[in-house]
Symmetry: C2
Subunit: 413 residues, 2 copies
Amino acid sequence: MTPVLRAERILDRCDALARCSEATGHLTRVYLSPELRSASQLVLDWMREAGMSVRTDAIGNVIGRYEGAQSGAPALMLGSHLDTVRDAGKYDGMLGVVSAIECVAALTARELRLPFAVEVIGFADEEGVRFGSTLIGSRAVAGTFEPATLDASDARGTTLREALRDYGLDPQRVGEAARRRDQVLAYVELHIEQGPVLESLDLPVGVVTAINGATRYQIEIEGIAGHSGTVPMHLRHDALTAAAQCVLAVEARACGEAHLVATVGKLETMPGAINVIPGKVRFTLDLRAPADEQRQRAARDLSDSLQAICGERGVALTMTTLHENAIAGCAPWLMQQLDAAVTAQGYPLHRLPSGAGHDGMAMQALCDIGMLFVRCKAGISHNPAEAVTLGDVEAGARVLLRFIENFNPEQES
Amino acid sequence: MTPVLRAERILDRCDALARCSEATGHLTRVYLSPELRSASQLVLDWMREAGMSVRTDAIGNVIGRYEGAQSGAPALMLGSHLDTVRDAGKYDGMLGVVSAIECVAALTARELRLPFAVEVIGFADEEGVRFGSTLIGSRAVAGTFEPATLDASDARGTTLREALRDYGLDPQRVGEAARRRDQVLAYVELHIEQGPVLESLDLPVGVVTAINGATRYQIEIEGIAGHSGTVPMHLRHDALTAAAQCVLAVEARACGEAHLVATVGKLETMPGAINVIPGKVRFTLDLRAPADEQRQRAARDLSDSLQAICGERGVALTMTTLHENAIAGCAPWLMQQLDAAVTAQGYPLHRLPSGAGHDGMAMQALCDIGMLFVRCKAGISHNPAEAVTLGDVEAGARVLLRFIENFNPEQES
């Protein structure tokens, strides 16, 4: 039997897409840029070659459709995004689009028509680099695009409205990108993990349980500044030692529970002089969990314990919530079918949450979502060092193809 | 009996000196400035009025001499500095000069001649604000002035050599400011505490045991940066949580031993983004103690425990010593005589180290040193909010006068 899935071709195509960059030497491809048009053109060509009818939708997403046994049937939607962060890796987003096309090519090669259509979508904006608003492509498809976003402007002052026109799209007609619920059976995305879990477990793939919810805080501790030489330890109200205790409390709370992560990413001391006891410390807290209740419980516990730490130390604590995102849970019936595909392909089963955001966060407004993670090297992403192995890419594509072939849209509740 | 010590006059004179400033509204008086000349003139007048012969030495210090029973006898030297930091308080330095003059005025009023001379010195530079080199006045008197300092320049590019000339002094003759060891019996300085210890103990004065030694470090912890959402807690090498543990270890070590103080004054996270696990943290450590051995032992312990913390967490630690100053210990025989004066005046006795630096650090190269601290409000210094009470100023002057009257230069070893 000829191998119908060609993992080398998937990697070659990721390389080809990586050459569609605003500068040579590194990969940067933002929404509605000439390089996004080049990349989209390549993708449209590959979709056509894989036996799909293709189109670009009203927000700039590229869509290929492989009809089922009956023309016009609702579709299983696969895909990911084609835009990148600045100085990006070659697989974040692109691997999901190219792998899905490879799966459809395999169906075409076997002339296999399914009881549903398969669509592959390459979202034009997920990262939000150009207009500061993420998930523009998937929000438009899900019907949750905010028209006010048309007034957002990029670093050069070009508005999204103008950029759409320059790209040949009509800002008035963005709403036409929205799909009807009865047209889409589910959205399933293959993506690199962007974390180190699968590598640490020596697994090529994993089934995602949820795109984690996140709460972000700005925290300020106010103590009393003083001369580092003249104030004895027992008379100090050091904002930094209080903050240090808070940082460790945050770490301990998150370590005590699976899948919860908590990070103090930025911390500043004021006045910040070698011979002055810090009078004020400002730090951030990023709290994520695959269940909203879990995250909210951790947030309450941390608020209490940070308050207690600061109370005991005679310093003042202020916690300000910067933003809060609920989880985007993967549908159990899709997880089960992804599990079955993993097992059928002979890989050990592992479920894990996604700590990073994905298009599924927007797509869940339209349909149930599922995700398949592929191992990446050292968990590195948003970085030119992003890397995957040929074997893992093949594993991901095989699982995805098996999932498509056996996809049963009749969800058991 | 008429009160011979007039504390109100001390405070009035501190107010008068505070008006000798480079700007109205705040006090800044740097070395060899027109305002230092005005302040020096006031001090010379008060010294003369108190019965002293006066002069300005080769580095710009003002000196008043009150002869003993026999003319030309070696002197007990009292004093402090007349320069200030920027936006200074009114008592740091000045209180010691003005209180000493008040004591001599009391001797004069009673026509009391002692078996030794008393000199009062107003050092022209202790803070080092103008030329970045501290203790210029006392180093010159102690004979440890480095001629290379003449080439140091201020913010406008004026060298110390030029500034001395502009002030009417001869840079070639700076060496003449140095005193011979047989001319000086001891150097004793009254100074505000600049810390909160006396206030916390409700004591007006305290006898200083030593000007603390200090070691300063730059410390860097290198971990591994990562996405705050995708790296599970157990796979992290977070430089900040390691640093937080180090900050608490520093605090715990210093709290465990009297008079040891340790401060992390500045801490920076890199890259310092809300959604990135810190890959690198840089922080300072300022370690002070009244005994060099105590400080060195703490330094060794901290180096070991920080290394252990970082080793366990799989992050790399680098500790660089920025500078190290040995202690300037106060002479036991001077402490005993200061103790006796405190007790004789009816105040409870308390000895404490000085966390901040003082002219005694330079003067110890010439003679034994002693210091008397006067309580200040909330430990605040180097700040316009610096404050003392009339009662405490009187207490300080009474103790100093009693010390002078009973001063026995025959030190028992």
